[in-house]
């Protein structure tokens, strides 16, 4: 079936317009590609240039950074260390308070008399020998005067024949004892404060771990 001239014209126009639109679309696409590639290249040139400049002046820039960030890091670490130390101090202060309570007989769960006896035995065992002089604070001295035989028995049971004497001069301590041998050549500080100080150094890491500091 042949086409009428009008149909032919319409078909021709439509085909041409389609061709034209395709040409223009391809042109837009090409132009966009060219510009995109150029933008990428500009970016690459800029980055490369920055890299070269940084390698030229890198040490100066690093020095600036290290100075500023370094100072802050130092300050921050110090602040954190102080906070950790405060927390540890709180724990040891609370422990000291509890020890004072125990020494004053305020802690029902702990018998200070037994604690005192064990402290004397431990000190005497560490020093060794036959005769010991025990120093204690006024309160403990009063107790020990009344219970010297008991303490003596405890020491004998632990290390054999031993003689205990009490130093009349009261010790300035929260509790516990300082024990020395008769000629004064060996002394063992078994006061609660002394033991606490030793423990502080020994279990600080363990305490820190419980508190989640490390």
């Amino acid at each position: 079936m042949s086409m009428t001239p009008l149909e032919l014209e319409t078909q021709l126009i439509e085909r041409t317009i389609k061709q034209r639109n395709e040409l223009l679309a391809r042109a837009r696409e090409s132009a966009e590609k060219i510009l995109k590639a150029a933008e990428e290249e500009v970016e690459r040139i800029g980055a490369e240039s920055e890299r070269q400049i940084l390698s030229l002046v890198g040490s100066e820039l690093r020095a600036v950074r290290d100075r500023i960030v370094g100072e802050t890091e130092l300050e921050g670490r110090k602040m954190l260390m102080l906070s950790r130390q405060e927390l540890l101090t709180r724990v040891f202060d609370e422990a000291e308070g509890r020890l004072a309570g125990i020494a004053e007989g305020k802690d029902e769960a702990t018998s200070y008399d037994e604690v005192l006896g064990r402290l004397i035995v431990e000190a005497a065992s560490a020093i060794g020998g036959e005769e010991f002089i025990v120093s204690a604070n006024e309160r403990d001295l009063t107790y020990l005067k009344k219970n010297l035989k008991k303490a003596q028995r405890q020491v004998r049971e632990a290390i054999g024949g031993s003689e205990l004497r009490l130093d009349e001069i009261p010790l300035d301590a929260m509790g516990g004892v300082v024990v020395r041998n008769s000629d004064g050549t060996k002394t063992y500080n078994n006061t609660l404060e002394g033991r606490l100080e030793g423990v502080k150094a020994r279990i600080q890491a363990e305490v820190a771990q419980i508190l989640g500091l490390i």
Binding site: P5, A27, A38, S49, I68, V69, L82, R118
Partner: protein, 110 residues
């Protein structure tokens, strides 16, 4: 409307396509010109900055920039430290009590 008019229309449409071709060429050429201009400017700028840096000039800006960045980094770092220090104040009481108990166990003779 006869064959003549169709042929005349054909010529007009061919012209339209030819114009479109020219338009395409112009668009692509313009894009290429713009791309060249961008690249040329970037290369010149990069070379200028590199040369200045080699001579030790123009790095004040870089130093200032580095200082600014470092200050921002330092500020962030300090915030982190403050947050960590603050978190230490939130240690549960039972943890404190557990630690105190451990200390007492170690101090008191067994």
């Amino acid at each position: 409307m006869g064959l003549e008019s169709v042929l005349s229309l054909g010529e007009r449409l061919q012209r339209l396509l030819a114009e479109a071709d020219r338009e395409v060429e112009a668009k692509v050429a313009e894009a290429q010109r713009m791309a060249e201009e961008m690249l040329s400017k970037a290369r010149v700028d990069a070379e200028r900055r590199r040369t200045m840096a080699q001579r030790g000039y123009g790095i004040e800006e870089l130093l200032e920039e580095a200082e600014e960045k470092a200050k921002e980094e330092a500020e962030k770092s300090m915030e982190d430290y403050k947050a960590k220090a603050e978190a230490l104040k939130e240690v549960p009481e039972e943890k404190i009590a557990e630690a105190v108990t451990l200390v007492l166990q170690e101090v008191l003779p067994r």
